[in-house]
Each structure stands twice: as structure tokens, then as C-alpha cells.
Symmetry: C2
Subunit: 314 residues, 2 copies
């Protein structure tokens, strides 16, 4: 605090719900909500609420107590090499974001399980191809990435009867389903799964993890849903796996470059479903509570919720 | 029973799981399972298990104690004017059939709610059209037909957060959601629903119920899922409603003529999803228990389960 001036919350996002700034100001009337640093003494800024900020934006903020990232994935954020040192960084754990993600994954898992892409092709060809409806118990879904979102998707899929397995780089305990960990257990996991759901954080270790070798290890004819990050997947290896029928279909919501460039082959590939990174989104109605709580905690010296470990990258 | 000859179970279906006859014989070893009446004294047949039988097939069976229809919808069956009089007729209430139907309706309701048909069109055009993901609570789903299947779909949809309303011709009580009944309450029901799910039995009263007047009463831009019977819908009125944007999209699993004829306009309409009557199917693994139980009940003088009222038509 500098004299009697109110503490400032800096908001920066180029892609979030437009209701955010007003919602924050209403929830925290003792603070001053600002959308730029113009005319703001940098030492007055106590908290920054950001999504896809320009690198270096936060560097001058010497009294910053909290950086609240407005999303679950923090890879873009951590790519900024000029972050102020020692300031707690929190990801958003938004029940709305988690629920929308579970619904998307459930919907596309059911669609792959019930062969809707094949059914759509049959319709285009005017073919009445009866495919016998199978119970979800016959389909094994593998979740890669067992954070908040992975666990919620696993619960939704198990709830409807799918067999669910999980994989993560480091061992996770206490899951209600069978889990595998690390390189050494990856192929035992992959060869059991009919549908793979990518929900890994993007880090130096997971970049391009879905490559030609990965597709050699999967169950032939498996399908893929990528709701993690585009750069988890080697685009050329994905197209090759589809063209060689090792992979049956891919549902992609995230891409190396977004919007997906017009000339990209994913747009027109018959075995790829493209959605415009709308599997989920944060929503002030459900996420505001964590943002408010975290700012109050940070300025009163308590530990904020859902802190990021910058060394691990997530 | 005629002398010491075993009682006969007649099985006739042109479209069911091929495992049925053997499964029935294994479950009821005291009976003789026959697939035709060739060489069978008609008075020996105690039970008939049928799906889409030729009219008149059952007329000579003077000692018949039960007709077990191998499905939930009995309209095709009751169209036979030469059924033996006074023989109990049972529909199949198969937990597997019910579960597959719920999964199909949940999947397509989510797809309509999350605007997947619009997303597929954007992909075909190479357009990155961000559509903000909405919570299911914002979408009202109306179920027309509140039998076993309608109730199960309502439970699955409510479970994930959709607002669910129900409509049936006669008043149903004891539902866990708001219900409307009859002609007089139909338009109050229709004008609230964003997605309509047709699960009505096909009777003289419901034939062509979804006609031009129906589409005048719906909420503009609503979507339709027909998993009941093709003849519930006036095909031309449906196409007109889509072409005039009163109806946003239709997911059709059932048709007046099946397979859907190659020249039918539904195949190529951009706002129609055609699936080949595979929303659900009976499965001996889950349905055998009811068939066995019903045959035992019928021959021992007990009332079979899930009896059909031929006068009501369902």
C-alpha cells in the first residue's frame, strides 16, 4: 500500500469472457480494477489477473502479491522469461471450466464409441450401414494427464460405464481407476485403450509427446481426442497415423497455431473433427469465487489456492 | 401340454441379435425352441417370441399363453389384424436397450447443445467460428413420451444438468421433472424447449403428430431428435421447418421406410443427421432375464411383466 491510494488489480486478457473486469470490480470494491498500467504507479499493483499477456508486462510490478492466471493451462504464461521473481502464480480451478470440459469429452467419447464419424460418412454416401450399438463397458478410454480436468473427465466417463485408465508422467495415487506412470508404463497403458484423451500440461517434457513412436504403440484403430494443447502432438505424425489406419479418428480442439491457419491439412482431413478451442472456457459466474478468495489471501499474507510450480511447468 | 411332448417356443425375428434363439433354448431347456412352425403341431406352441413377424403367423396357435415382443415399440406387431384373441402380449423392457437409448439421446443432446452441426459446417468451410460453451442448465430439453425410455433419458439429461420437461398424451404422475399432458398443454410445453426428443409410441393418435402445426408451436430455432418412430413425423413438414429456419437441426434414427430409400431428401439435407435405426437394440445379455421370467410366468398361470394394452396401442 502506498499512502492512502487503493491497491490496484491489473486485468489483462485478449480472449476471456468480457464480463470479467466488471465482475472483479464488483466483487472487490476496495480495490481499483485497471485494464492497463497507463497512469498507474507500478508499486500500487497488488494482483494481476491475466490470460495471454504480452511478455514483460508484469516485470515492473515490484509489490505484486499474486499472479492469477485465468485458465487451467499455464504454458503460455510461463513462456514469459521476464516474470517478476518470487510472486505466487495460481492457475484457475473453475468448476464451470471443469464441467464444460467433462461434457465435451463425454460427448466426443460417446460419438467415437458409437461410430458417429463413420455414420456421417455413410450418410454422405447415402449408405444405410447398421452398426450394432455397443455398451460403453466394451470401450476402454485412456486419459493422459490426471490433474483436475483429467480426473473430472474420468469420473464422467466411468459414471456412464466406460472402462477408464489413466496415465501421467509422475505417479498419481488415490485415483478411483487404474493408473500408469512414466515412460516405462506407457506402452502397457496405450495398448489397452480404444480412445485416448489428451489433457497433459504442455511442458518441455510433454511437447511432441504424441509422435510417430506413440502411434506405433497405440491399439490399432484407436481414436484420439486432444483437449490439452496443440504442441503435445506432432501434426505430421498424426496425419500419417490416420492415413495408415493406425488411428481411426481424431477430435482436435487445440492447435499449434490458433486460429488454425486456413491452409492447414487438418481442416479437410476426412478423419479429423476440428472444433475452435471451445471444449471449455472460464466463466466469471463459476470462477469468480476463486479469484476473489486468492486476491484476499495474497494481500493478507495467506497462501493462495491452486499454486503453479514454475520449475515443473504446471 | 399335449401328451408328453415338450412345450414349444416359437421364435421369429428378421432383425434381432442372432444369439437369441440359442440363448432362449439354453435358458429354458425344458422347452423346445423352434424358428418355424414346420412340423410343429400348432397346439404345442406355448409362447411366441417375435419381432416384425409376418401377419397371421400366430393365428393358428390355439394354446398360446404369451406373445413376447422383442422390443419396446409394438406398433408393427399390433398392425397384425389376425392375432390370436385374448393372449397376453408383453413388450420388452431391457435394461441394455434402455441404457443404449439414454446414451444416444445424451450424446446427440450434448452435440446439439454444443452446436456440433454448426461446428462441422464451419470446418467444411475452413472457418474458425468460436462458439462460447454454454452450461447445460441454459438448455431446456423436452421429452415427448414418458414410458421407460423417456423416463430414462430424462434422468440421464437431468443428471448432467439439462433442464428437462416432459409431455405425454395422457397425464403421468410421479415424474421427477415438470410434465405436461394432452393437446391443451402442448403449446405451453413446446414453446419452452430448445431440444425436443420424440419417444412416443406410434398409435392412431400419434401418427403424424409432428406436423406443420407442431412446427408452428415450437420455440424458433429448436432442434429435434426422433428416436421413436418415423411415422410420428410428417417428412415434408420437417423439411419445410428446417428450410424456413424454424427448426435448427434434426437428428433422425427412425423413418417411415427403413432402410431410408436412396432418393429420400433426408440423406442430403445439410441440417439433418441420419443414423441407421441404431440408437438402441435389444441384447440377449441384458434382456434374456425378462423373456425367461415371462415365459415361466405365462405357463404357470401368473401375470407376465410389461403387458401391452392393445386398445391403447402401447
Amino acid at each position: 500500500m502506498t499512502g492512502s491510494r487503493p491497491l490496484v488489480i491489473l486485468f489483462h486478457s485478449d480472449a476471456s469472457d468480457p464480463r470479467w473486469p466488471d465482475a472483479i470490480q464488483r466483487a472487490l470494491p476496495d480495490f481499483e480494477m485497471r485494464r492497463t498500467l497507463d497512469g498507474v504507479p507500478p508499486e500500487d499493483v497488488a494482483a494481476a489477473v491475466v490470460w495471454k499477456h504480452p511478455p514483460g508486462l508484469l516485470e515492473p510490478l515490484t509489490n505484486l502479491k499474486l499472479i492469477q492466471v485465468l485458465g487451467a493451462g499455464v504454458d503460455h504464461f510461463l513462456a514469459d522469461t521476464r516474470l517478476p521473481k518470487g510472486v505466487p502464480i495460481a492457475r484457475l480451478v473453475d468448476p464451470g471450466l471443469t464441467a464444460r470440459m467433462s461434457e465435451y469429452v463425454l460427448m466426443h467419447t460417446l460419438a467415437l464409441h458409437r461410430r458417429l464419424p463413420e455414420s456421417a460418412r455413410a450418410q454422405r454416401d447415402g449408405r444405410w450401414d447398421f452398426i450394432h450399438p455397443q455398451p460403453p463397458e466394451r470401450t476402454c478410454v485412456g486419459i493422459l494427464g490426471l490433474g483436475e480436468l483429467g480426473q473430472a473427465c474420468a469420473a464422467a466417463l466411468s459414471g456412464i460405464g466406460f472402462r477408464v485408465l489413466g496415465w501421467s508422467r509422475s505417479r498419481r495415487s488415490g485415483m478411483a481407476f487404474e493408473t500408469y506412470a512414466g515412460e516405462v508404463e506407457r506402452s502397457a497403458f496405450l495398448r489397452q485403450c480404444d480412445i485416448l484423451v489428451l489433457l497433459l500440461p504442455l511442458t518441455a517434457q510433454t511437447r511432441d509427446i504424441v509422435d510417430a513412436r506413440f502411434f506405433d504403440e497405440i491399439r490399432p484403430g484407436a481414436a484420439l481426442i486432444n483437449v490439452g494443447r496443440g504442441a503435445l502432438v506432432d501434426d505430421a505424425a498424426l496425419v500419417a497415423a490416420l492415413d495408415e489406419d493406425r488411428l481411426r479418428h481424431a477430435v482436435l480442439d487445440v492447435f499449434r497455431q490458433e486460429p488454425l491457419p486456413p491452409e492447414h491439412p487438418f481442416w479437410t482431413h476426412p478423419a479429423i473433427t476440428v472444433t475452435p478451442h471451445n471444449s471449455s472456457a472460464t466463466n466469471p459466474d463459476t470462477a469468480m469465487a476463486q479469484v476473489t478468495e486468492n486476491i484476499r489471501r495474497a494481500v493478507s499474507g495467506q497462501t493462495p489456492l491452486h499454486l503453479v510450480d514454475p520449475a515443473a511447468g504446471y
